[in-house]
């Protein structure tokens, strides 16, 4: 899932300082699961913004709604009547959600309430961690299912670098060295040959630096 985290409330309050009516839109997808943008957080943010306004002595009218996923035009459209009523929309979706809302409602300010941080998963209740670098050219079959692109601070493909010690990355003693993990995994699976292979320079054109990526599935296009 896409993992996001709340922006400082006062920062969001700053975005909407000139608004009197806002719609706070939660997302029932990834940001719900990572407890950053579900209805609970949407309610929390709305209440927080109202409280800040109240303390300024000004009123802020908020409406709160949550849509199943902000990254689907139909769901985005489903709140059009509510959007019409307000000066601005505050989205608790990921960066995708904010943009989908902004694109769909061209004449509305759509403001982000979250910082979208990474693609990852729940390693334990309340703790999420990055796992995928969205590089567009997966090499996990070579690395024992451990991604060096995102889990190595240098994204090196022929690791580990010299900074690997006691299985930890040099830049953070709490972070495991991805290449150490790869080494252990491949060694346990008796496939060290994979790590000994020279991994040639990667084709990064499939990564974000290759320009806006899209994907098409012909038979699904309507």
């Amino acid at each position: 899932m896409i993992v996001a985290e709340p922006k400082p409330i006062k920062e969001v309050a700053g975005y909407i300082k000139d608004c009197t009516k806002i719609l706070v839109v939660g997302c029932g997808g990834c940001t719900s699961v990572c407890m950053a943008g579900g209805e609970t957080e949407a309610e929390m943010l709305a209440a927080s913004l109202r409280i800040l306004r109240k303390m300024e002595g000004r009123e802020l009218v908020t409406a709160v709604t949550t849509i199943t996923r902000q990254c689907e035009p139909e769901f985005v459209e489903s709140i059009s009547s509510k959007v019409k009523e307000v000066d601005a929309v505050v989205s608790l979706g990921c960066g995708v959600g904010v943009q989908f809302l902004a694109e769909h409602y061209r004449d509305k300010w759509v403001l982000p309430a979250l910082n979208t941080v990474f693609a990852g998963g729940t390693v334990q209740a309340g703790i999420w961690e990055e796992r995928c670098g969205l590089c567009g050219d997966c090499i996990l079959h070579l690395t024992g299912g451990i991604c060096p692109v995102i889990r190595c601070a240098k994204s090196i493909l022929n690791g580990p670098c010299g900074g690997s010690q006691n299985g930890k990355c040099e830049i953070n003693p709490d972070t495991p060295c991805a290449w150490h993990l790869i080494y252990e995994k491949l060694s346990a699976m008796n496939r060290l040959d994979l790590i000994l292979q020279f991994h040639p320079a990667k084709d990064w054109s499939k990564e974000r630096s290759g320009g806006l990526r899209n994907r098409k599935r012909e038979d699904a296009v309507l």
């Binding site: 601070a153 240098k154 022929n158 690997s164 010690q165 150490h180 080494y183 020279f198």
Partner: protein, 301 residues
């Protein structure tokens, strides 16, 4: 001869090579470099120039290399993968060669977190082994990384790589060394050795795989200035092992600097006896003046 550099000549003749290392200044003046060149001239076979070491901005390693060369010292230009993509790197490789640089040491580079621009975006378009492969390809296959032919005047570097016998997983370090050799490394400079036993073990594994016959291994030595410095390296620098008894010895010594020099000399003498070691690389950062003394005491000149 692959490159025709002095270092390559020394090594290929089977002589015990001596290299040193200097860090370029954090300014635009060649003064310090010229000074260091004067000190080192005649004492060493080549001198490494670091590439924005620890991710701190310094005078470019290629330019510094040119200054050294102009002052009679053969440089080993270091190149890291942190700050340039494959285009910039190949461009710089062409440029450096045109300025007379012949030795190149390929590294991935310290993470920017440790430097003075932790906010910088790192590149790591390619990694150090890919860099070695790329430099070798330009030399041997006369091709750019993309496969395009270098029709004439292809750069022919004496390709160096680094090895850290003190990083983990230990057993894998030799395998990775082999990977670097396979990618095209001609010589290897190791991380500073304090734990000589571990280095012995490392070399034993190297010999078992016959790697010492495929590559020149130059062992890294760093004279310790003080017990405090030793302690700092032990605790703070990733990928370094400093045995406690070494620190204790430094602490007990009356003149810690002299003791540091003495230890370095002893280490060099020990290293010289290890089969498969082709030379020493003396890394006396900010203490370049001590290099001649060590070289002399160790009986290397």
């Amino acid at each position: 001869m692959k490159s025709g550099s002095n270092l390559e000549k020394v090594l290929s003749q089977g002589k015990f090579a001596v290299t040193a290392e200097i860090g370029p200044p954090k300014n635009a003046s060649p003064e310090k470099l010229v000074q260091d060149a004067k000190i080192l001239k005649g004492w060493v076979d080549a001198v490494n120039i670091t590439d924005n070491q620890t991710a701190v901005v310094r005078l470019s390693s290629i330019a510094a290399g040119v200054h050294l060369a102009q002052n009679g010292v053969e440089p080993v230009v270091q190149m890291t993968c942190r700050d340039r993509n494959r285009i910039a790197m190949q461009s710089d490789l062409l440029g450096a060669y045109s300025l007379g640089i012949r030795n190149l040491l390929c590294l991935s580079g310290d993470h920017q977190k440790f430097g003075n621009h932790p906010q910088a975006k790192n590149v790591y378009d390619i990694d150090s082994i890919q860099l070695i492969d790329m430099v070798r390809g330009m030399r041997d296959d006369r091709k750019f990384l993309c496969g395009e032919e270098i029709k004439e005047h292809h750069p022919r570097y004496f390709i160096g790589a680094v090895a850290n016998p003190f990083a983990d997983p230990f057993e894998f370090r030799v395998l990775r060394l082999e990977k670097k050799i396979n990618a095209g490394a001609d010589f290897i400079q190791t991380q500073s050795i304090f734990d000589i036993n571990r280095f012995e073990k490392f070399m034993e594994m190297v010999r078992r795989r016959g790697l010492h016959k495929k590559v020149y291994i130059i062992a890294g030595v760093t004279p310790l200035k003080s017990a405090r410095a030793a302690r700092f390296i032990q605790k703070r620098v990733a990928g370094m092992i400093v045995p406690d008894q070494l620190i204790e010895r430094m602490e007990k010594a009356g003149d810690q600097k002299a003791e540091g020099i003495k230890i370095a000399v002893e280490q060099i003498q020990h290293i010289k006896t290890i089969e498969g070691v082709a030379g020493v690389h003396i890394m006396a950062i900010n203490w370049e003046s001590v290099v001649p003394q060590i070289v002399e005491m160790a009986g290397l000149r």
